[in-house]
Amino acid sequence: MTIAPTHKPTFADIPLSERLAKATPLLLVPVLVLVGLAAIGNPSSWLTLTVSGLAMGMMIFIIASGLTLVFGLMDVINFGHGAFISVGAFVGISVLLALGGWAGAPSLLLNLLVVLLAVIAAMIVTGGLGWAFEKVIVRPVYGAHLKQILVTVGGLIVIEQLIAVVWGPEEIFFSRPETLKGAFTFWGAALEKYRILAVAVGLGLFVAMRLVFRRTKIGLIVRAGVENGEMVEALGYRLSRVFIGVFIAGSALAGLGGVMWGLYQEVITASMGEELMILVFIVVIIGGLGSVEGAFIGALLVGLLQNYVAFLEPKLALVSNIALMTAILMWRPQGMLPVVKAK
């Protein structure tokens, strides 16, 4: 037998249509933005709504990214994720209120510092809570979806009640740090400063996540694990440890999202996380379970659509997102960027 490879190395043929199909979800965001412009007509209203929609999308993405990976890696459905949003918001806003002097000062530096401290505190607490939640509630029900739904909903309710015990049952109103109030006027449109900050934070995080997933070994392990966890283990990596790390990071990101959402609304309630989870689940499902990039596109679509429709036909805002989910699932039952699962 000869050893020399006589075959020519070529790719398996991928038809052009298939390559294009892969790229279409990326085009949906600009298409929606243009459709929005056509429907709204007035460019300055459209710009305001677009920035607002992107800000909302970024916050939902931050919350959804951890949830989609938790599902992708271990097939775990975690309704408790909503609790981390609320806890993050309460911890973060408590820090903000405690440092009221800094938040009220007309200094961008002090204002950003107090927000940063609020975020760090929220992420530490929700990360720790995530660690305990995984250990106590999720680990005993690996591989059993119905039990996961039941116990994680149970965990969500318990944590919401604990929030009421610690912070009281009423919603808490507050205002944003001084320099983050108000809006810029640009091209006749009012662009709220905080929304622009939220877009910047969301974009920065997305870029950072992409770098981690493409440039670090741990990122590669997570991506490979979403596709084929069995093979990752056969190579010598402990998937359960990777999963715990992702669970903690995802919980901390939900906490960050909670602080950001609280600052956006200027009011927090124990059930705010639970309420947001409807949109978060829509984003995770239409993005493709396990796909961070899919969640990013899905979150932007949901945020933009919600804002456009709320302006055009307020009653239809939530329905529009459910319609979006239905349409996308009819087009791609596995979501926009489905992860190629082994088996």
Binding site: I3, H7, A12, I221, R223, A224, E230
Partner: protein, 240 residues
């Protein structure tokens, strides 16, 4: 002769409620190639998956390199020195060829000399180094799967049907690569349905039937005895 590198004693494995492996006894000698043969569905893949730990043995013991690994988690078995090439190749399709190989190097960065050697035995890997592994052809995926197991030196390689569905030219590339691996002193336990390949590479043979090892001996002995082949493996074996 030295101790076998791998020893299965009375290994039983269930999949769901089915009793698939019914007392498997198997010795894999060190530094040589053992062919695990038998008809479709007799339990060859299940045996390899039980050795790496994807199925947990319900009874019996697995000794590797002198240590009992029967209850060890999968990653610990891999790190103890077992490379695994699964029947479905287990390629990470969303990752590039390079990223697949980076993951395969578990004790540090991929060694450049090792990589160049792998390029020489599997040239398409160099060509498609930065391409998504999911876009490779079937033969290239199989090369990547084997190269991944070979990314670092391992004591034992478990390889499940590496030539399944491949064109003859690619099969000879595979055989060449596995010969080089063997020349480096590795021990290999390989499932192979292509009898010509089994004959070309195998030193020892173990034949399975219905969840048991029913015959062991030298590959040459089995290859030269058509009636024995007929009796052990029936007609399902591709005779060439």
């Amino acid at each position: 002769m030295s101790e076998p590198v791998l020893k299965l004693k009375g290994v039983e494995t269930d999949i769901a409620q089915y009793h698939i492996l019914k007392k498997v006894d198997l010795d894999v000698p060190r530094g040589s190639v053992t062919m695990l043969l038998g008809r479709n569905g007799v339990g060859k893949t299940t045996t390899l998956r039980t050795i790496i730990g994807h199925w947990q043995a319900r009874a019996g013991s697995i000794t590797f390199d002198g240590n009992d690994i029967t209850r060890l988690p999968v990653p610990d078995r891999a790190r103890a020195g077992i490379g695994f090439v699964p029947e479905d190749m287990g390629i990470f399709a969303d990752l590039t060829v390079e990223e697949n190989m980076i993951l395969a190097a578990i004790s540090g960065p991929l060694d450049a000399a090792r990589r160049d050697w792998l390029f020489s035995v599997f040239p398409p890997l160099r060509t498609f180094w930065n391409a998504a592994a999911g876009n490779l052809s079937g033969g290239q995926k199989q090369m990547l799967s084997i190269a991944r197991a070979m990314a670092e030196r391992r004591t034992l390689y478990l390889i499940d049907e590496p030539t399944k569905g491949l064109a003859p030219a690619i099969i000879s590339t595979m055989v060449g690569a596995l010969r080089e691996l063997k020349a480096q002193g590795a021990s290999i336990l390989m499932v192979e349905q292509n009898f010509a390949v089994a004959k070309a590479l195998g030193d020892h043979a173990a034949v399975m039937d219905d969840g048991r090892i029913v015959w062991t001996g030298s590959m040459a002995e089995l290859a030269n005895d058509a009636t024995l082949q007929e009796r052990l493996m029936g007609l399902s074996m591709e005779m060439q």
